[in-house]
């Protein structure tokens, strides 16, 4: 009878393997989700590219956008992507304080980015160039706004993550989620490369 029950040592080892596999499975699953999000953004980019010249008498990108302003936004987001990586590094070395510090910096930079974007949107809307104006503006607000909505979710996640780490420390669960969060945040920066290039820089060149 007793030889039918696995011995404790082996069970322990198996459990360890299972736990580590589960964590890597979860991170992989999150990656698959990010791939779906890439296709989502790709569809929005396709729509934007088709509608970009449909200004219907309204302003074009070149008339609306201020390149230096967008550069500041871009730099804020790029730096936050870097500091997010630093937060993950500190977490992997189990430095709780440092992790929280870098997460805080990332959060602040992300919030700056979001603030700049909302200010820009607000300016356009008050000038009368809102999403009602033309097909081009509808697609501009939707593409950039979808990215902004992702950033908002990322910030919310970061805040929850910060509280979680502060209260419960850097356990395996926190570490796993931090890896996913950092993937999410880097991914948003990758999307922004294309928004920066296709929406703003191409726009300035009157494509």
């Amino acid at each position: 009878m007793s030889e039918l029950i696995a011995d404790a040592k082996m069970v322990q080892l198996n459990k360890q393997i299972e736990r580590s596999e589960k964590s890597s499975t979860a991170v992989f699953g999150f990656w698959v989700y990010l791939m779906t999000d890439c296709v989502l953004f790709a569809s929005l980019f396709a729509v934007f590219s088709v509608l970009r010249n449909n200004t219907y008498g309204g302003p074009s990108g070149a008339q609306l956008f201020s390149l230096p302003y967008v550069l500041i936004e871009t730099l804020a987001l790029l730096s936050s992507s870097f500091t997010c990586g630093l937060a993950l590094l500190s977490a992997q070395r189990r430095h709780k304080k440092q992790t929280l510090l870098w997460l805080g910096v990332t959060f602040a930079l992300g919030l700056t980015f979001l603030g700049l974007e909302i200010t820009e949107f607000h300016k356009f809307v008050t000038m009368g160039d809102s999403w009602h104006r033309s097909g081009f503006l509808s697609s501009y607000f939707t593409l950039v706004g979808t990215h902004g909505a992702h950033i908002t979710i990322g910030l919310l996640w970061m805040a929850v993550m910060g509280v979680f780490i502060y209260k419960r420390g850097l356990g395996p669960l926190a570490l796993k989620r931090l890896r996913m969060l950092s993937l999410f945040w880097h991914f948003l920066d990758v999307v922004w490369i294309f928004i920066f290039t296709i929406v703003y820089l191409f726009g300035a060149l009157h494509v």
Binding site: V39, S79, S81, G85, H186, V190, T197, L201, F202
Partner: protein
């Protein structure tokens, strides 16, 4: 069916935990600095209109693609996993779908725009031609 040896188990454990191996600071620094440089390059050539439009467009596209690959490798660690490389596989598949979707849509819509959505000028020409008949 023999019992798995301890060595086998250790190997499995190492393989499973591979992805959680600490990332390196070096990678993030390289990724950050090169992204910064690429962004600034793209910005400056656009801001100063350095060159004709076609050239600039091509250059901007290339810079964006390079930065995409840089961040994919240094920030998102694509291509650094052990076999089986499912993450890489998903990424490659995604890129294929995106190219088909965006490229195909633009091709189709461009063809349609030229044929069924004439510009105002073309429309006038057409109407004049009809009048002359």
């Amino acid at each position: 069916m023999s019992e798995p040896t301890n060595l086998e188990y250790t190997n499995v454990l190492i393989a499973a935990s591979h992805e959680s191996e600490p990332s390196r600071l070096k990678h993030y620094v390289i990724g950050f600095i090169s992204s910064l440089v690429l962004t600034l390059c793209a910005y400056l050539i656009t801001y100063y209109h350095a060159g004709n439009r076609g050239l600039l467009l091509g250059l901007l596209a290339v810079l964006a693609l390079i930065q995409f690959l840089v961040q994919l490798f240094f920030f998102l660690h694509v291509g650094r996993e052990l076999s089986p490389r499912f993450k890489l596989m998903m990424t490659v598949f995604m890129i294929m779908v995106v190219i088909i979707l965006v490229g195909g849509s633009l091709w189709i819509m461009h063809s349609l725009a030229g044929r069924v959505m004439p510009s105002t000028k073309q429309m006038e020409q057409y109407m004049n031609a009809q009048d002359n008949l």
